[in-house]
């Protein structure tokens, strides 16, 4: 009796608390992107089925432990060695639940795996670029922002493949709202894993392989992520950020960034010319000076995006 009351109280408490609890307490992050939302739904389905099994097992366990504890003058233990129909039925029951789970997974899979078309309000990405992908479908209509994600110890470099001029950024990825963004992920050193929880699942970056994923942020905002595969000393520092901007702000950012990159490269060329001129003025080049020059060339001033990394 007391047990039943406790149980009822617990269930009532759960029903009250569950909707109040923040989403990430009981399920993965979601919100701005459809793939993350679908994963969230799929996860919740597995959670609810799991909860039923959990309650079934744990209540039977606790009930048995309380009800069938040895008492003075209590009943002898029933010498039951098995019950074939019962055993067959729970085997089939377990199998059926799993068939159901697998079916639900395949129903949700296309929505999570295949990128959808950009919304009508999305920006026009460059001249309908034709990309061949290995595993991931191209979004219908082809209007998508293509990003190459180059992971390296311990920073993310984002290259905008659709841009005519060189356009890239470090650490922070700027994208327009409502636009499908496909990511081609690779690594230039060890294995990393790209993960921005609110924008969907992980994609491992394995050296020698390319991986793919996508998102379409339908809400403007700033979404944080991190490297999810131990990649060395700086693994915990290898965080990233996706900034989703309104179309016009994104265009403005891209223009500015492109111009900054161009200016930085021109600056580099001028520096080289100045150095060469200075070397000629000084006459013969001494070995130490030559060494300094090479080192300097190896480490050009950081490209504009990097300064924004916290």
């Amino acid at each position: 009796m007391r047990l039943r009351l406790i149980l009822l109280a617990v269930i009532a408490a759960l029903l009250v608390v569950a909707p109040e609890a923040s989403a990430d307490l009981i399920s993965p992050e979601s919100g701005p992107s459809q793939n993350a939302n679908d994963i969230d739904t799929l996860y919740k389905i597995t959670l609810y089925i799991g909860l039923v099994i959990f309650l079934l097992v744990e209540t039977t366990l606790i009930y048995s432990l309380i009800k069938f504890r040895a008492r003075r003058g209590g009943p002898e233990a029933a010498q039951i060695r098995g019950n074939t129909p019962l055993e067959i039925s729970w085997t089939i029951g377990a199998a059926l639940i799993l068939v159901m789970l697998a079916t639900v997974t395949f129903i949700y899979l296309p929505g999570i795996k295949d990128p959808p078309a950009s919304k009508a309000s999305a920006i026009e990405t460059a001249e309908g670029s034709d990309y061949a992908t290995i595993n991931q479908k191209e979004p219908p209509g082809g209007n998508a922002l293509h990003i190459s994600v180059n992971s390296q110890q311990y920073i993310w470099r984002y290259d905008y493949d659709d841009s005519k001029d060189q356009l890239f950024s470090f650490h922070t990825l700027y994208v327009p709202v409502n636009t499908t963004v496909t990511l081609t992920i690779y690594s230039s050193d060890v294995a990393h894993s790209w993960w921005v929880p609110k924008l969907g699942g992980k994609a491992d970056a394995i050296p020698g392989h390319t991986n793919e994923t996508w998102f379409r942020a339908d809400e403007e905002g700033t979404y944080d992520g991190a490297c999810a595969e131990l990649c060395g000393e700086g693994h915990a520092d290898m965080r990233t950020r996706v900034v989703v901007l309104p179309a016009d702000e994104y265009e403005a950012w891209a223009e500015q960034q492109t111009a900054d990159i161009k200016a930085a490269q021109q600056g580099l060329a001028e520096q080289r010319k100045e150095r060469e001129a200075a070397d000629e003025d000084a006459g013969a080049v001494t070995p130490t000076e030559e060494k300094k020059t090479t080192e300097h060339e190896k480490n050009p001033p950081p490209p504009p995006g990097e300064e924004e990394a916290p």
Partner: protein, 561 residues
């Protein structure tokens, strides 16, 4: 020659003359007695358990606050690697080997293992492996995680000797485990007592047999993989180096081809312990003996087919992911069968609440949670969010701590009286259980949420976003409660070795043959090997003794308590 007189010789160890073993430490160093080797396995494993636990608590201390600066990144990565490696290779496997060593010959009515000297070799290889690994503390411990993913573990990124120490550990403990497994297979196949057919073998022995076959199938893969890593590091091969035409994915496949069976290698004997403990304390036969034994074999078979569910986020074709999702789900069926059978074993029993039962029932409750999250992780699109996050850390600890370690503790409380002749304190035992149970859930339940809030595993710092800091603080508090709980059992063991209550031969009214002999058993185990007529031979013997009103009955040649 008359055909009737020809009997097939049965392989068994018959003692011709008893040579006094050397006394003191030399006796332990030179012993080939399966019981002494078993005890040494225990002692070594428990030492490594304390070390690995201390490493875990250091990590939890660091994570109690976000962006904490107590421990630096590379030290933290070292702790991650040492903790995982220690717990898997130097605690769980050795202590299970210890149980198997000590209990299998007693349970099957044999006088020793099939190859006693090989048995000693197997133990000393383990110790050597542990020492080689821990000497890396004095130069540069490995920092690539216990999974040692290439190419991070290659000499281009970690040229220090730590990774090499890890490779040598794998080779030494791997050889130790393989030799032990072959020994157990030979023992179980050939040395069962008269009347003990496959259908009368204790379930713990069944799980040890399957554990041993699984080791023989899985360990060669890791031995090959680490050898390839060794030559990559020192002899310019490029098995895992894409620049040289190798493939880091090969490492992941080889590692998990070993690594996933390894998970079941670590849990199956714990299942066996539970299948022994629950019937004894429920005073009931195990429910569905055949189903429990057969599901063990089924789990082992399927465990060889699920490895790539550790690689769902890698660039792999969807059809492959789907295969590994389904195979991983299928393995939940035989696992579920076991859980239902254990519940049915308790049902309508007359349950005696001793410490082994606490840990046994706790294991069933906690392992169920790990099993359910395991199925959730098998759903590969969901895994894209959960993979490599604290959700996985929580899941694996529910399986390995909630499952294996609680099972191991049930075994410690159940068999300590047989091994030492003395009882462990029930009061301390129950205190230890409740501290561990509460501490464990406080530590790991909330980690599911930390993972789903975006906290990757193996990070020494995390941003203070959402409730992450609260989750981690709770987890840290829980881990120290858990640590104290473990400590109480260790104190209990040390105290009871000298001061525990005298146990007698059969303190629990056990079902299996180890309770037939004295506690601790004499070097030859049994003066007369009993004949087995059912799956619960001790029940038969007790019945016979009772029938004979105090007279020793049938083949009972030793005093029966």
């Amino acid at each position: 020659m008359e055909a009737t007189t020809v009997t097939r010789p049965r392989p068994e160890i018959v003692m011709r003359a008893y040579r006094e073993a050397p006394k003191g430490w030399l006796g332990w160093l030179s012993t080939t007695d399966h019981k002494r080797i078993g005890i040494m396995y225990f002692a070594a494993a428990l030492v490594f358990f304390v070390v690995g636990g201390a490493e875990a608590l250091l990590m939890r201390l660091q994570l109690a606050q976000s962006e904490s600066t107590l421990i630096d990144a590379q030290t933290y990565n070292g702790l991650v690697t040492m903790h995982g490696t220690t717990m898997v290779f130097l605690f769980v496997i050795p202590i299970l080997a210890g149980f198997a060593n000590y209990m299998v010959p007693l349970m099957i009515g044999a006088r020793d293992m099939a190859f006693p000297r090989l048995n000693a070799l197997s133990f000393w290889l383990l110790v050597t492996g542990g020492i080689v690994f821990y000497t890396s503390l004095f130069f540069e411990p490995p920092t690539a995680g216990w999974t040692m993913y290439a190419p991070l573990s290659d000499n281009a990124y970690l040229p220090e000797g730590g990774v090499d120490a890890w490779i040598l550990l794998i080779h030494l403990t791997g050889a130790s485990t393989l030799i032990g497994a072959i020994n157990l297979i030979a023992t179980i196949h050939n040395m069962r007592t008269r009347g003990m057919g496959w259908g009368r073998m204790p379930l713990f022995v069944w799980t040890v047999l399957v554990f041993s076959y699984l080791i023989v199938l899985a360990y060669p893969a890791i031995a090959a993989a680490v050898t390839m890593l060794l030559t990559d590091r020192h002899f310019d091969t490029a098995f895992f180096d894409p620049i040289g035409g190798g493939d880091p994915m090969l490492w992941q496949h080889l590692f998990w081809f070993f690594g996933h069976p390894e998970v079941y290698i670590m849990i199956l004997p714990a299942f066996g312990i539970i299948s022994e403990v629950l019937p004894v304390f429920a005073r009931k036969p195990i429910f569905g003996y055949k189903a429990v034994a057969a599901s063990t074999v089924a789990i082992a078979f399927l465990s060889m087919l699920v490895w790539a569910h550790h690689m769902f986020a890698t660039p792999t074709a969807t059809v492959v992911l789907a295969f590994f999702m389904i195979s991983s789900m299928v393995i939940a069926v035989p696992t579920g069968i076991k859980i239902f059978n254990w519940l049915a074993t308790l049902w309508r029993g007359s349950i005696v609440f001793k410490t082994p039962l606490y840990f046994g029932a706790g294991m069933v409750g906690l392992f169920t949670i790990g099993g359910i999250t395991g199925v959730q992780l098998a759903v590969f699109p969901a895994d894209w969010q959960l993979h490599d996050s604290y959700f996985v850390v929580a899941h694996l600890h529910y399986v390995l701590f909630g499952g294996s370690v609680f099972g191991i503790f049930a075994g410690i409380y159940y068999w300590f009286p047989k091994m030492s002749g003395r009882m462990l304190s029930e009061g301390l035992g129950k205190l230890s259980f409740w501290l561990m149970f509460v501490g464990f859930n406080l530590t790991f339940l909330i980690q599911h949420s930390a993972g789903m809030s975006g906290m990757p595993r193996r990070v020494y710092q995390y941003p203070d976003t959402g409730d992450l800091e609260l989750y981690n603080l709770l987890s840290t508090i829980g881990s120290f409660v858990l640590g104290i709980g473990v400590l109480v059992t260790l104190v209990n063991i040390v105290r009871s070795i000298r001061n525990g209550k005298i146990a007698g031969n059969d303190p629990w009214q056990g079902n299996t043959l180890e309770w037939f002999t004295q506690s601790p058993p004499p070097p030859n185990n049994f003066d007369v090997i009993p004949t087995v007529r059912s799956v619960e031979p001790m029940k038969d013997i007790r019945r016979e003794v009772a029938k004979g009103a105090g007279q020793q009955a049938g083949s009972v040649a030793q005093p029966v308590a």
